[in-house]
Symmetry: C2
Subunit: 704 residues, 2 copies
């Protein structure tokens, strides 16, 4: 069911309306009236005859008509009764402002379950409880106690914190920022972030979706839906509570590196969601995304009336990886003809401290017309002759032209530039108080455009032997084994097209020597025990053994020493004797399954230092070829893999393919909870990577 009645109700009832000013039950009625809501407003309170100048009704039934939207402010214990009345009357949309539910403990949680069940069974959609309400400025709907209705505009806002929404609204009103709608979703008993983001996605008045979230219920659905919507509308989210959870105890390198923060980061990247780290950043971004076209390239022209701020902008442009536009000859010539001799006619264009609005006008127009310029950033400092308001006017007029290029302004100062700032805000030209904030915003716009233009996602499906994997996984689960040992993990990998070193298990030194003889020297010995996760840590890996004697010695030493190092109950099943893999670069491929977002793939520099160097990249599975490549390229390791300083590079495409194959494996087998291939040894172009070691843990799918 849609949220239509939350956006555009013809009539609103407020159950629990109060005569007492300052009480929420009064403020909501008053806000609806002050906002000049054009539909009917029905205050409901059996003890009052009139509230805020409106006739009051004893209960919903007595109104006589069915309100489109009901706002509930009665105490928590009385809410269920109101909902039953709503159900009886066929009311479908209810905002529950009342607090005292899940957030206060078990008794509140019980009440919340009760109201959720009433809603589900009667087809009512609930916003809240424990929320601030709903605002839709273009409809003059202020069904909230969040303050004054803001200006109508293109930003749709969703907040999981009512108080934060109130602060944002206050700031937005101070800066004349316009909204299509604001939703406070409170405890999300029914309507959740997915519903609202979906609705804002459909809403023609919303150009940008912004919000504050503390958690996301269905991660998988969120990614799919947000990815779809991001194509048309940028989504700017603050997501808090990310760091504190941290990585839980994990059995793999991937597991220990893939904390909750990484998961959200990956989900947002995949879905094109633009992450904002504070409300100020979100404001900075939202202004620009809502009303400016996206830049067609990274070339920024800076116009300034002072050298210092121009240098500061130039620094920021370089730091953010943008380009200082090289002005065309014709632009330079025109600037030279029209500006005073002392002016700088190259980028940054310095119109000088005594510039009036006309010089700014000239420079902005010329910069916008220059084919080498994608973005224009106009800086202004308050000097003796500066015309802040007039300059704002010419900037706003130029920004409205047909050039399709974004214009951002940075007016530094306060009282002396206030007129200009207000003018720019009124005209929806984004305006900043420091060049760095403007440049960071440009970077975000370019990143979003790159995301929008990314290749279509096509996930390649490789022919594999699923049955073989099924057998191993099922056997482990039947026996309630959670860890798949190295040999069987490699069997699984082989079924998905990986190459692993030849080798077998030995339980005696003689047997180890015989296997080695068959494999040919040198060989590697590895301890084999389900309880020993990181073999090197306990001296359980010995490489480069060149003859029978060395193999026997290594075997016996492991058998003698390792039991002294590990827990008493670690069962040592033997020693794996393996051919020695040709030298190459070591990388790690891994996966950790997130309960909300599904399998998170990892790539990085391999070996024993992976958790120290942390040169790793993450991406949600399933991976496309392009995404696999992007993962590789986003690490420093990539530079080494490509080959530098006379060293031959490795077969990058082969690693990308390995990542895709692994992505297919973990997508097709949701039982795999966590895994590492470490190292995957990769060689020069044309060679096949070898999965030298692997570990995997499984769990029944129902367990999640």
């Amino acid at each position: 069911m849609s949220l239509e009645s939350f956006f555009r109700p013809a009539s609103v009832a407020v159950v629990g309306a109060s005569r007492e000013k300052g009480k929420v039950g009064y403020e909501i009625v008053a806000n609806l009236k002050r906002g000049e809501f054009p539909g009917s407003i029905f205050p409901v309170n059996p003890g009052a005859r009139e509230i805020a100048g409106l006739p009051c009704w004893p209960d919903l039934k007595s109104i006589g008509s069915i309100p489109d939207l009901v706002v509930v402010v009665v105490p928590a214990k009385a809410v269920a009764k109101v909902l039953r009345d709503c159900a009886d009357l066929g009311i479908k949309s209810v905002v529950i402002i009342t607090a005292g539910f899940k957030e206060v403990g078990p008794e509140g949680a019980r009440l919340e379950t009760e109201i959720t069940e009433i809603a589900r069974s009667s087809g009512i959609r609930i916003m809240g409880p424990n929320c601030l309400g709903v605002m839709v400025p273009s409809r003059k709907l202020n069904a909230s106690f969040g303050g004054v209705l803001p200006r109508a505009g293109g930003i749709g806002y969703i907040s999981q914190s009512g108080a934060l929404l109130a602060a944002i609204l206050d700031m937005a009103n101070a800066h004349q920022i316009g909204f299509s709608a604001l939703f406070s979703i409170g405890n999300k008993a029914d309507v959740d972030e997915m519903d609202v983001i979906h609705a804002l996605g459909e809403d023609p008045e919303t150009h940008v979706i912004a919000g504050y979230l503390e958690n996301i219920g269905d991660g998988d659905a969120f990614v799919r839906e947000a990815e779809r919507i991001s194509h048309d509308k940028p989504i700017l989210l603050m997501k808090s509570g990310g760091t504190s959870a941290g990585a839980k105890a994990a059995s793999s390198h991937t597991g220990s590196l893939a904390g909750e923060e990484r998961v959200y980061e990956s989900a947002f990247i995949r879905a094109g969601v633009i992450r904002c780290d504070s409300i100020t950043t979100q404001f900075d971004y939202a202004q620009a995304f809502a009303y400016q076209p996206l830049p067609q390239g990274p070339n920024v022209a800076v116009i300034t009336n002072a050298g210092g701020p121009g240098i500061m902008a130039a620094d920021a442009i370089e730091r953010e990886g943008l380009t200082f536009a090289q002005l065309s000859e014709s632009t330079i010539r025109h600037l030279g003809e029209k500006l005073p001799a002392a002016a700088n006619i190259h980028n940054p264009i310095d119109v000088l401290g005594d510039a009036l609005a006309d010089r700014y006008d000239l420079a902005v127009q010329l910069a916008l017309a220059d084919p080498n310029v994608n973005i224009v950033l106009v800086l202004l400092t308050p000097q003796a002759m500066t015309q802040a308001a007039e300059t704002a006017k010419v900037i706003a007029a130029a920004a409205k032209g047909k050039h399709g290029k974004p214009v951002l302004a940075c007016f530094m100062g306060a009282a002396q530039v206030a007129d200009g700032v207000r003018m720019l805000e009124a005209e929806s030209v984004p305006v900043y108080d420091a060049p760095e904030s403007a440049v960071r915003t440009i970077r975000a716009m370019i990143d979003y455009r790159t995301w929008k233009n990314r290749p279509k996602r096509i996930v390649k499906i490789f022919p594999v032997n699923r049955h073989r994997v099924e057998r191993i996984v099922d056997r482990h689960l039947r026996r309630k084994l959670r860890e798949i040992g190295e040999m069987e993990a490699k069997e699984i990998l082989e079924a998905y097209g990986f190459v692993t070193p030849r080798g077998s298990l030995a339980t005696t030194a003689d047997q180890a020597a015989s296997i080695a003889d068959q494999l040919g020297y040198p060989v590697v010995l590895k301890i084999w025990s389900p309880e020993i996760i990181h073999k090197s840590d306990v001296g359980g890996v010995k490489v480069g053994l060149n003859n029978r004697q060395e193999v026997r010695d290594a075997f016996d030493l492991m058998m003698y020493r390792i039991p002294l190092e590990v827990d008493d109950d670690a069962e040592i099943l033997g020693v794996l004797v393996q051919e020695m893999v040709k030298k190459g670069r070591e990388v790690i491929l891994g996966m950790k399954r997130d309960p909300h977002f599904g399998p998170l793939m990892m790539f990085g520099m391999g070996g024993i230092f992976v958790e120290v160097l942390k040169d790793v990249a993450f991406h949600l599975a399933p991976l496309t070829a392009d995404e696999a490549k992007q993962m590789l390229m986003s690490t420093r390791t990539y530079q080494m893999l490509k080959g530098v300083r006379g060293q031959e590079g490795v077969d990058i495409a082969a690693i990308a393919e390995s990542l895709q194959r692994l992505s297919q494996l973990v997508t097709e087998f949701p039982q795999i909870r966590e895994m590492d291939i470490n190292p995957l040894v990769v060689g020069p172009l044309g060679t096949t990577p070898v999965a030298v070691d692997a570990r995997m843990s499984v769990e029944p799918v129902e367990a999640r």
Copy 2:
């Protein structure tokens, strides 16, 4: 000579005063008057009898008394004449506002040289030219055209950009920020950043020095002076123009990694200067540094009236590496007794949405009294019952207590919290609009405190053989050789206590084989040519040669192949045959001499990937033992060196000592321009690191 007369003149003359409102010559007189300057103001203009209601004088001589400070606004060409008059009269302090000097080209530069010479020869100190002037609020001195005199306070400001200073002043006035003095230094013809920072360091009214600089003249002196002042007064600097210069063509890894930005970073770290990346950050920091005590530890208590902002603050605290304070049992008990049941009495303390000022008062007092709390951060969002102003009042009162702990506030919103914000500003309690800004400020305060408490800098001097190094360096310089080849570079290192592998130069395959026989196998062969800087790049290094035949083959192959790879004029002098160094971890030590700041030391992960992985740390020489250790610890490499995952660690102290020895070498030999030891191979505790390869370039000291 001190800048006393710029700070506290008894009388000010304005030469070039104008009757025309809006003109700089008028505005300066008017500003002096409007600021209620208590001393005499002498407008000087032969064509006027009165300016801004003050009697006007035809020239300086006719005034009859000697003004302490002269402000010059006459055209550039007339400035020299004014200065000569000043010299005749014995005037010692002159502010030259006039532009049109060095910044406009060669003719202006000539004028600037002329006035500088007059000043030098007559003992006049000049501020400017091309500057905004001087402001000293506590003396009611506004000898500038920068706007209204700000409130008196503890921040001393210096700016190399007049326009930026005007913007800062405008912002500061909007936020009631107080200053001890503001100096616009313009072209720095005479008084420069060093003079002003020194003067502000001496000024008892200045508690914090802040500023904007585009370059620093004498880097070495700056570091020494700033380090001395930073002990008493924090120095907060914006430094622009850092990124664009980039690293110039360099002959060593260190040289190519040590760009100008790294040099400034290192200089600031060494001098305890707090770098600010934008004017907003500088405001954020300055507020707190000027009026709050430094935190005695990293434990932050957060008080909030809403959950969302509390979580955002918690995230920021974790991200910045601070600690969420664990409240003491007594605090928790008291909070539990006094706050409503639904309140969160653990950190973050949630006083709930309906909190009035009294609950905030209680929570702030208890948090400040808690021995487990070092810093209190108070968050407020505008809710229905929120008392912003009253809450501000109780916060300000609590902040003034005898606890010696910093209190920072974050009032989110605008109009609804404006009264509270103004109140906090008036009471000098730092107030922010987002929790992230407040937390970043706390981080900066803690970093500064750590710097202040760092161990006393004692540079250890090792006994070395200077004479041996002198001989090699002098010989190279005499012969105009700029590069010292591997063998002699190692000889230099040996003279400073480094161990290098044994080996000799061979010019024939037979000779190479004989040397190898003497050294014992395996050996390494390295091409030897002054023109080949990165030997591996051209196949000029071959390791692990096990017998005569392999040595001969490798020799001949190098002689055949390398000339095909390199420039025709690369002179190949032979091949170095060297013992093979025992395996160990490879690190790089290096140095690049900066023309302004002297030798910049580098440490990092060694080998051929140093420029790819960029896991390096920098510090200005000479290094103390502690600084050398800090350099090591600030790299990710350090974790590997310490030993992880069953791998033995290496002798960290031995690396630190090597860094100190290298620091001594480059300090004692300013002729060394740039150098790398790469790799320095380091082994387990008790072993001596071996400098396996080294390169060094020299130049005559006079060349700089």
